[in-house]
């Protein structure tokens, strides 16, 4: 393969995307493991005990990265879906579909860890505070996208409809967050915010950031794996898939 010219749409071709991710994925896994180990070490063996919340605050090291990932992945998903729609690039649409389940997973994890953090600190498994409520609605947005693209049999229509929905959703997320925050302050609910003690020790922050990078690397690895699967599913009649099958040892 001539690797000299790398154009903007080089990896829009499913075959090249497949080849690229073939070696990228293991790299991402290595990064995931490395940063997870570093982050967990920092979080459990370096970061001190919190003054107000005791050891319970250590949930923050996965709660906040999961929440960040859930929000960023939604925007990334909408971006690639939009690119797929605008440029008629199937691979971009496939990538968007591959992102959705991972985004939903992180959203669920953010909600779960949020609940497990809330119970010891606020005394209840669930509170309708602005961030948790918006996170719940974000989960519904992911599920709506997944349900819509899976309900439409025509691939092109499904890709385009999904893109429109994801873009409309992206515009709405800030509006939803603002309205929920407004609603929350009116009802005098959250006097406690979802962050750790006001003065966050730098070790705590470092641990959180290390795990954020780990989650990013993880997301790349899983999303690329799923995108490869989707590419093979949808392009099964293509020549590059036939070539691939010839050279791959059957699983």
């Amino acid at each position: 393969m001539n690797a000299s010219t790398l154009r903007l749409f080089t990896f829009a071709a499913p075959s090249r995307f497949y080849a690229l991710t073939g070696w990228l994925i293991p790299v991402c896994w290595v990064a995931t493991l490395a940063f997870t180990a570093a982050g967990l070490y920092m979080g459990f063996f370096v970061a001190p005990t919190d003054a107000t919340q005791g050891e319970a605050y250590r949930i923050i090291f996965i709660h906040v990265p999961a929440a960040w990932m859930s929000m960023v992945l939604y925007l990334v998903m909408a971006f690639w879906a939009g690119v797929g729609w605008a440029f008629n690039a199937r691979m971009a649409s496939m990538l968007a579909r591959a992102i959705a389940p991972t985004g939903a997973m992180f959203t669920f994890l953010a909600l779960w860890t949020g609940a497990f953090w809330g119970k010891p600190t606020w005394g209840t498994w669930w509170v309708w505070d602005a961030r948790l409520t918006t996170e719940l609605i974000l989960l519904f947005l992911y599920l709506g996208y997944i349900a819509l693209v899976n309900a439409i049999d025509d691939m092109r229509r499904a890709d385009q409809a999904g893109a429109l929905l994801a873009l409309v959703g992206s515009v709405n997320v800030p509006i939803i967050y603002f309205s929920v925050k407004w609603w929350n302050t009116l009802h005098q609910g959250a006097t406690i915010s979802m962050t750790a003690a006001p003065k966050m020790a730098s070790t705590m922050l470092t641990a959180m950031l290390l795990l954020t990078v780990a989650f990013w690397a993880y997301a790349f690895a899983v999303v690329f794996t799923r995108a490869r699967a989707i590419a093979v599913e949808r392009e099964s009649h293509a020549g590059w898939v036939a070539d691939l099958l010839k050279t791959t040892i059957k699983p």
Partner: protein
């Protein structure tokens, strides 16, 4: 942060259920998801192979 013993580490100052409940969920999801994705990939390859050569007898 120094833990005086393993049991102290697991107890997490009394919040063990919550801390480990969270981390366990994260570990479970982040182990399951890649396995499912990989399974999907392998299944896609098997299906593509079956399509191109329906006379194959494997799987």
């Amino acid at each position: 942060m120094t833990w005086n013993s393993a049991s102290e580490f697991f107890a997490m100052g009394g919040y063990g259920l919550y801390v480990w409940g969270s981390y366990a969920a994260a570990a479970a999801l982040m182990l399951l998801e890649p396995l499912l994705a990989q399974h999907r990939h392998r299944q896609a390859l098997r299906d593509a192979a079956a399509q191109t050569d329906p006379t194959e007898t494997d799987q």
